[in-house]
Symmetry: C2
Subunit: 580 residues, 2 copies
Amino acid sequence: MEKSAIYHISEHSYAYPVNNDTLIVRLKTKKNDVDKIVIHYKNLYDHSSNSKKAVMSKVLSARYCDLFEASLHIQERRFKYCFQIFSKGENIFFTSEGFMKAPADEDFFYYPCINEDDIFHLPKWAQGEVIYQVFVDRFFRSDRAPDYPDLRSWNMLPEKEMLNCGGFRGLVRKDTYYGGDLAGVTEKLDYISNLGAKVLYLNPIFAAESYHKYDVTDYFRIDSRFGTLHDLKELVEEAHARGMKVVLDGVFNHCSYANELFQDVVRNQEKSKYKDWFHIRSFPVNEERKDYDSFGNVAPSMPRLNTSNQEVIDYVIDLTTYWTKTLNLDGWRFDVADEVSHELWVQLRRSLKKISPEIILIGEVWNNASRWLQGNEMDTVTNYKFRKALLKFMQKHRNANIFWEALSSNNMLYKSPVYNYLINLVGSHDTTRCRTLLGSAELHVLAMVVTLSFQGMPLIYYGDELAIEGGFDPDNRRPMQWNEISNPWAKIIGQITRFRSESEILKKGSLVPFDSGNPEVISFTREYEGKRIHLVANFGDSNARVVIPGGVNEIILGQAEDHDSGTLEVGFRKFALISS
Amino acid sequence: MEKSAIYHISEHSYAYPVNNDTLIVRLKTKKNDVDKIVIHYKNLYDHSSNSKKAVMSKVLSARYCDLFEASLHIQERRFKYCFQIFSKGENIFFTSEGFMKAPADEDFFYYPCINEDDIFHLPKWAQGEVIYQVFVDRFFRSDRAPDYPDLRSWNMLPEKEMLNCGGFRGLVRKDTYYGGDLAGVTEKLDYISNLGAKVLYLNPIFAAESYHKYDVTDYFRIDSRFGTLHDLKELVEEAHARGMKVVLDGVFNHCSYANELFQDVVRNQEKSKYKDWFHIRSFPVNEERKDYDSFGNVAPSMPRLNTSNQEVIDYVIDLTTYWTKTLNLDGWRFDVADEVSHELWVQLRRSLKKISPEIILIGEVWNNASRWLQGNEMDTVTNYKFRKALLKFMQKHRNANIFWEALSSNNMLYKSPVYNYLINLVGSHDTTRCRTLLGSAELHVLAMVVTLSFQGMPLIYYGDELAIEGGFDPDNRRPMQWNEISNPWAKIIGQITRFRSESEILKKGSLVPFDSGNPEVISFTREYEGKRIHLVANFGDSNARVVIPGGVNEIILGQAEDHDSGTLEVGFRKFALISS
């Protein structure tokens, strides 16, 4: 046995409660190195009876490591446990004190007590639902939209001229407006609802300097370009009337240079009561001397808020409370969540969940997000690692194993209740569009099909359901192509989205990959309460014959030929969603 | 290279800031498997320049794994990094996406931004200081002590009769009073101060049913057996006058059945406003029907508080605020810290540090304590793992390597700034006394010498400085033996304690073990600002010749013969503290 690979810690994604008296415990080992693991466990205060035993299951398998899991139930909610590992004739215990032949109770790992606040409470309604993301200026222009003389024609592409300011987002022209508005979104709610999306996520809409509104000038006001408070209230009410939920974009890492909070500093300098609300390195602060931290420290037009300052935390709590109550809001997506202080998120979650226990809190995080997913900050995050693994598979290694290993590695970082909430996406307003990256609408559809059948909350960036094109920012923010909504790709994507919206299995089920025998095929089973749905997506250039575990009952969606004995033939660049 | 053993996560003890712009990054590998690790790092938003590089140092070595560390400085406070690992001719990068030959920036691990609240602020004054623990009833009886007719004679041993209630603490008779009091502690402050202890930690003193006072009946009142509020104020003032600090014991996991909070529930049942302050399983609650959670779920006389309830949290904040302010208190030791909710600790820390930023918060934790040592709960914990490793070494494996591997394994769990605060102890009111376990005063002295020379805050349980005996609870709570304070063991222990209290090296220095060539010898170097002190403690039954790294300048304490060329001969069961 490779002892150096054995890893466990009695916290985080390795030991966590899922309810009052059930603890999930996990152990990492070298891949395929271990024959069996038996977990021995008992009440922490039980010094006499024998331990209970449970065989652990291998639940994830990454490139070099496997992850084993067991679910322990102890009514007294106090746990101690150790692992008996069987490997190639060897049989040894792994404990809090290391490896040993015969551990005493005091050598066990402890999970001393499950308290109510250790349990990760996620909004039940959101599990596995589809999110539709709308960039308001680029979605639909209503008749009520405010008139501005500078609107760009809906059919023109965004200007490519970049401002020279560095930063991975390649900050672009601020003033390119197409004229989409909130009332326009309301008008198109039936379209979004009919698509099967449960959640409408709007990019920022508060008063801001730019068309993208990530540089907020007034957190308590709707941007007049997009409409009025009345328009927004109507939008939310109409969404709710359709059974939909609305999520707003909260940008609290930074604001605009023109924001009154920062302008007070510019006017009053060291005497400003807001001087500690930012990270000012030296005074005076003005248009010339920009000696303060900003978004990425590269965008002086967006000074960074000091989110460790309790006054700033209180301000953010106030404004989010105001909007949540005023609009009867269902959730927030937090911009640059990984640069805002943890202290702010902890306090904000506590406040918002008190107002509305079922509100959903989404963090924008591009890399490992485990710090924000312990249960006291975000409910879920933008799972860009999913996108990365899928694109790497499609563009580089046509090897499904590598795809699964990457996702296993990612999932090992998180507690399993989050899996049905991870926001899987093939693109957003911050990436080149998937269709353009892949150079093929057929492959784009396959990517969408995998995403929309996957465990998690799939996010559709407006237009991706039509397979629209778009290079890097700003080209990925082209106006919505309403004339494309009946194209053949839209039809297929719409079918699977609508099917998902009605399927408990796709929304709430577990996911287990199965081996298709073909490295270019992504194949997995979703299972919920004993019922199963399988996806076979063939990314290869020839037909694939795949044996479906449990056999084929019905081909729900897609194209495939059902041969005898549960073997399905799926055409190249085609997929099949199957019940068994 | 054993890739399955490579472990890193961009948080916790693997990535943490130590100030505004410095990040400590660590990587775990298989033991002795890696030749060199170079960390490549740059500003998260820098997409053009080359990465900076630093060679990582091996800082800890456990049984099967090594831990490498580097300190990264980036003025912009935003980090991305990856590891280039050289092993037996192999040379590969380890990234957030796994192993690869040529990582892109987006494959790096991210530490997105250091915020002020990510930095673990520890009370500077406490670093490495000696704590003296006093069980008030058993320490000293002043002339002012309240008179009670039931006092047990100071020279008698505690009664051994145990109540039949299970639990690892073996709850014992509640009513065995010897009559020690707060004024008695004040009288003996010179003794404690002359010993070199900086911190006086008192076991509980609030009104309670038992002599040990862990079953509090009134959190806002001093127990009348121990004296008055005036006595306590005087004690703290007199301690402060001697440059000492005072830490009280906060028992918030449970209280007494007789506490008015619980009695209100007993009287009013479901109508009590405190019914959700406890974990009541079913009503009615009374002397017969004890259907509620209690300390360890085994002691109905101590109902467990529901520390996830915000009202309970507020109550604990109120009372600790009251005492902290009223007494000008320097710290709290929190009983059963690992069963109280994290939510309580997070909020309590925030409140207490606001009142008194330099207050010390100590958690009673027996096992892995990393969850409480992230920087937002405790400052430090009772490091019982140190005791376990030391006793195992002395009683079982006379092999210094095993001792060091156990401590390395423990230290890997924690952020390094905590090392100088970990509370190392050979015993407490909850353990059999070290002297009795070892069966030898000589060995007890050696154990104390190692503890008092070690990195951390050594804790002396009253009487251990005299090598007094004591079996398991209640025998370990014998009254202080004032007639023993000049015994030969007390003399040696007192010398080293006093030396430590004046030594920046022992208080603030790093610790690195060095190989003595003799498995029965514990030998290490403490270093601070280029100055070094070495300890050689010979637990064997024959003399040991040890080469001191850097040679011998002076034998500060202990007994040893200084041979030529920096070789020291230390007698069996003797030690030497050496400068070089």
